[in-house]
Symmetry: C2
Subunit: 749 residues, 2 copies
């Protein structure tokens, strides 16, 4: 494989450098490094040295240099290029694997659902003549329950985190909040099999959300070059075993997932940037996009008038179509789901109850669908342009089919496609109205069940149904105007509005819809309805994913600080007093602090005590809990280092091998003697942590966190003394509610 070849090449080059540098070191060390040469001369000398003998600088490094920086300083130009190449290789692998998984899910769902519908169809046809359709109903319900049972058991008993679409979890992960087990191999397996079962089981769910989650898991796995679950280490991509790199790859994986789910690569990129990238400025991008859209629209509009063909353009009627109600419906959906989720958190927390609820939903879905189809008398002629795979004749005349069945007796994807593309007149308004109503409640009930399930396709389906309904009604009011002609367009806009009202994504959703429909001219109408849906929806209730994130009380950082938080300063936001360590600290103190469950900090400032004590000490670094744990585990104590000089030094590899499942402090045994030893943190701490003065305003602190992806920010006074520490939780606490700034209660993670 390419990556292995490159790894060998890389190691080889690195070693070659090392040998040369040994030779040259004797030469180079004779001259002082800080000699003030003139500019050009220095540049020349440096660049010359750097290209060939980077390793030399190892020996001249200054005292404060941490282990992590050291590696980067040691790496040559070629080393960086190899890293870059391996990043591309990994992204390529992520894309291929995600595509394959999507392919597998697609084919399996199609096969299984195809078999199921075929069996039921034959059964229904058999019993339509002779009566006794209740047997068909039972068959349908049993088949659905069987699939859902398998899926539900896997999710509830094997890996509960695989429930739902996984998008809230991925949002949190990309936001920097660690949720346990979310990117494990087991989760992936359960997710993939689970979603196949739920879709084939006829639930009102889609397979798109789970695909995004799957892409993310693939990325997390591939980029680490090993599997902790399988206990296999391929000894490659070791450089990427750290949070920031892994997060970057996970965002690529999520993008690949969107891309595979909707065929929308650009939409995928925007999705993962919107949700994840720490450097993203959401509102600005969204406004820029607005300006672009308006610009294209204006140009096309006036040019088409100039050329005398104003009809060439996208249908202007679509734009006037207010769509106030879309946000309302979305908010209603979210509110119902919110209460349902709270109910579930309280009462349905045991796995067996969860599986039973899933079975109940499956049975109800089948029953409702069957009832709707049974009592519907909307028969449509079976034309040549007709593209249903399982047309149900039922009580219709020969050569006709039951129109309600195209919506219910089908996988949701196919139903959406029919609503978008079928000829005007394929559905009558009553059918659509009833379908919207029942499907709305089914979908709402389904999301949050303990099965792998996405909410995209059900939302699209609801929106498409009532969009088409509106289109038909409008057409009947203004029968002469040709611009109201195609109800399929209304279905598209309705679908966008409903989905936007539920998930409240903006930029990326527009692009996904545009890419999925392959028609740029619908861009502006889609964007406008998404905006309306978001604004209206936000007034009543948050987005579905945000609700679920909030219910889990995770410290989720939004794109910007609340608008009215300018008067809050770091001093008011920070937690204080802070637990600090000295540069040379007693092991016992460290163990005690780490074991103290009430604080549970993850980062600790390292300070130098001023001699005449008492006043706060000066900041000189920051060290993480995980680093301290590795140090304790390897017993890197000053006393031991003296006695065992020959012992190998702790290397970066030791930190990487422990990543990401650092052992808890309880599992590390420290004897009473060892508690009296000292630990020198100088070499391992981050010697230049980001700091802010105490008067810094909250938006500025927030911007630092978002832009630099920080987790800890030390607040210092004029004398560089530590007076507080700001963490994500301190920032996520503030929230702009309807009545101004509010403080939230967050879980202790």
């Amino acid at each position: 494989m390419l990556c292995i070849v490159f790894e060998i090449l890389y190691v080889h080059l690195k070693n070659a450098h090392r040998n040369w540098s040994d030779f040259w070191m004797s030469v180079s060390l004779n001259r002082s490094y800080n000699l003030p040469l003139n500019l050009a001369g220095r540049a020349f000398v440096l660049s010359f040295f750097f290209f060939f003998f980077t390793d030399v600088f190892d020996e001249i490094k200054c005292i404060h240099l941490s282990l992590f920086l050291e590696e980067e300083r040691r790496m040559s130009h070629m080393g960086f290029r190899c890293l870059e190449i391996s990043r591309w290789v990994i992204c390529g692998l992520i894309g291929i694997l995600t595509g394959l998984i999507a392919c597998f899910i697609d084919i399996m769902v199609e096969k299984l659902a195809g078999c199921k519908y075929q069996v039921i169809k034959e059964n229904i046809e058999k019993f339509t003549e002779v009566g006794g359709l209740s047997i068909s109903l039972i068959l349908w319900a049993v088949l659905n329950c069987a699939f859902v049972l398998v899926g539900g058991i896997m999710v509830a008993y094997i890996e509960p985190i695989a429930a739902g679409s996984g998008i809230p979890q991925i949002k949190c992960y990309l936001n920097g909040v660690k949720i346990p087990r979310v990117v494990r191999l087991k989760t992936l397996l359960v997710k993939v099999l689970g979603v196949i079962c739920s879709v084939a089981g006829g639930l009102a769910v889609g397979k798109e959300g789970p695909m995004i989650h799957s892409g993310a898991v693939v990325a997390a796995g591939v980029s680490q070059g090993r599997s902790t679950s399988l206990k296999r280490d391929f000894k490659m991509f070791e450089y990427f075993r750290r949070d920031t790199e892994k997060r970057d790859f996970v965002s690529a994986g999520a993008a690949a997932g969107v891309s595979a789910a909707f065929g929308a690569p650009v939409g995928g990129v925007l999705f993962s940037l919107e949700e994840g990238a720490s450097f993203w400025n959401q509102m600005l991008t969204w406004r820029i996009f607005f300006a672009s859209m308006i610009s294209t629209f204006t140009l096309n509009f006036f040019l088409s008038i100039y050329h005398g063909k104003p009809g060439d353009l996208s249908n202007p009627g679509l734009i006037n179509f207010g769509r106030f109600e879309s946000g309302l419906l979305g908010a209603l959906f979210n509110s119902i789901n919110y209460w349902l989720t709270i109910f579930r958190i309280r009462y349905v927390h045991r796995p067996c109850l969860q599986v039973m609820e899933a079975l109940l939903v499956a049975a109800v879905t089948a029953t409702v669908s069957f009832t709707m189809i049974y009592f519907s008398n909307d028969c449509q002629p079976l034309g040549p342009e007709h593209n249903e795979e399982y047309p149900l004749q039922l009580f219709c005349a020969d050569g006709e089919y039951n129109s309600m069945a195209t919506a219910f007796f089908n996988t949701p994807e196919r139903s959406v496609r029919s609503l978008f593309h079928n000829q005007p007149g394929s559905y009558n308004p009553l059918t659509l109205g009833l379908f919207t109503l029942t499907y709305f409640f089914l979908a709402c009930w389904t999301y949050g069940l303990a099965v792998s399930a996405g909410v995209f396709i059900p939302s699209l389906l609801i929106g498409a149904a009532w969009g088409r309904l509106c289109g038909i009604l409008l057409a009947s009011f203004t029968p002469t105007s040709p611009i109201w002609a195609d109800p399929g367009k209304y279905a598209l806009i309705g679908a966008a509005a409903q989905l936007g009202g539920i998930v409240r994504m903006t930029l990326s959703l527009t692009v996904i819809m545009v890419e999925a429909t392959g028609n740029v001219t619908y861009g502006l109408p889609i964007m406008l309805v998404l905006m309306t849906a978001k604004i209206v929806g936000d007034y009543f209730q948050e987005g579905l994913y945000d609700i679920h994130i909030k219910l889990q009380s995770v410290p989720f950082l939004h794109w910007e600080a609340p608008a009215t938080s300018h008067w809050l300063t770091a001093r008011e936001v920070m937690s204080s007093p802070v637990t600090c360590f000295n540069r040379i600290e007693k092991v016992g103190t460290i163990v005690d602090v780490l074991s103290n469950t009430s604080t549970n900090h993850n980062g600790f400032p390292v300070v130098v005590q001023v001699l005449d004590s008492d006043e706060p000490a000066k900041l000189c670094g920051l060290i993480l809990r995980s680093q301290l744990i590795v140090l304790l585990k390897h017993k890197v104590f000053v006393e031991l280092a003296r006695s065992r000089l020959s012992q190998r030094k702790l290397q970066l590899k030791d930190f990487r091998d422990a990543y990401p499942r650092f052992p808890p402090i309880q599992s590390i045994h420290v004897s009473q003697d060892e508690r009296e030893c000292m630990m020198d943190l100088t070499e391992f701490m981050n010697a230049t942590p980001y700091t802010v003065p105490q008067d810094t305003s909250l938006p500025r602190v927030f911007k630092l966190f978002r832009a630099l992806g920080l987790r800890h920010l030390v607040v210092v006074d004029d004398e560089n003394r530590v007076i507080g520490l700001v963490t994500r939780k301190d920032l996520a606490r503030y929230h702009l509610g309807k009545h101004g700034l509010e403080e939230l209660q967050l879980a202790q993670t």
Copy 2:
């Protein structure tokens, strides 16, 4: 207009708040603000207070509060919402105006070029029979020269900054480098009229680059709510009269320009983010996009195999088509243009020479075109599917037309379209080869002339021509294989490769090409050739825009610090010693420092001297040159404030009115008496500037600059004493050349 209505509303609401707050202040001031309430209680009190009585906090503000922060703290929830709405309104206006401008350019070019070609065509037809075609040549050359003369004179004499495509200038502007006069109304007028003249004048140029520049100028104008050139102030959008806000709008304008030029709104967004947004991470986004593309491709590939129709997919032949040479050709183009530009900077700097060169190019273009058409004997039948507007029969038989003329005797846009879409067999290889060769040199000579001109369309044309040529040649080698059939696809890929090789844009160019062709399936091949072109091209020569930026020696910050710069620290990079001011500083000192042309700093740390002097003083703020100038202009001296207590305080409005054309220090008269006065900077400085310790590594400093859009970063020691200042120039100096890290010489701006 909506915005005016909203402004009135806004002012009204603000005043209403003020009155309420006067009433409530007496109540609220009785209780201490910092009372330690419990969390929930505090949140409630704060949010309650905040929504209604934000103005109260004016009076309780701490001493260090600067004038600028003050406004934001004073602003209510509603105020922020209004600001947000006005941002959207502005973006809408930018989109509409940019679209209209694009529309105007389109129509004018079409009209003028149409007339020109009609006249010449009639003339040629008249003389083909009777001989004496040299008269037609002269007519053609004279018409071209006439147009170019008008355009050239405008650019050379009225506004030289309007020359070229404007993209390098916009890149610099968005990067944070101020280039004088680049977003003025005059520039816009000259640009628009100039580009109409150059395209109508038959030069090898496009109108896309100038459209991007136009969008940017529109944005800069609209967002400020006034025109300094026209001396009109509409008294709105005053909040946006600051660098960061203006830059955000300009990036929206550039996006709108791209969107109007190519009909690619998403591409526009990505373009302006790529080039401008300070928060963008280029490589990561590009890799994410790669993963997405691969994912879609894999999915489609395997699904199409599964469905037994592998041909449904994008043509796999296109992907195997290596395109190594594209980067080579692009690099060649850039190298030639590089030397030409250097020649021009040295010798062709007088306006009259510039106009003469433009005329020469116009005449040569006409002559070469005519000669090529004259000697070509590639006659093609005039079929029904034929879509040229000006088919030249010349010496061809009746019912046939000269194929070379479709490429030369046309606006470049139409030529590109013909190359993409015309039937196989419309061109013979010799025609294409000759066309590519001549057009290559013409385009190369043309870019950099003193006319408004874009390089996109000429590059696309060259690429399309040789792409189509390759397609034809490949088809002739493998006549049996159907996948080599359509040369139009090769033209598309060739065009992408050539353009990518010249401008080296990646993500946004892919999206623009995909959106412009409206076919997502070409995404992966386009992306792959763009990558190849970039990698190959970068090996030989930088991108065209980067070359032009570099030749102007501006301190341009790239996306990331050079990979091998980890061992450089802030201490080595910073400029030191720094000119600092005391919090209360003598006017004479300030005037002297500002007048000193040799330093020419734009930001000055403000310090508090420790009593027992000598050692460096502690940092307490940062103040800008422009702020000092406004203070001097308004004579905000401590002594005067005492004597004239009733005088109104300096307000934010005074800073905004001066923005962006602050007077030079020389124009401010300070008498000898006034020089002895003192100025109190406390209220006006930024009291919490970003700082770093001296050991911070260069990439970290770089990341701060890019992520936060900084211009000055103060380097402090452990005691918070100023020891240096890092500016953009210090960072832009380091550059990763072929031989490792290099230091550049930058202009003193």
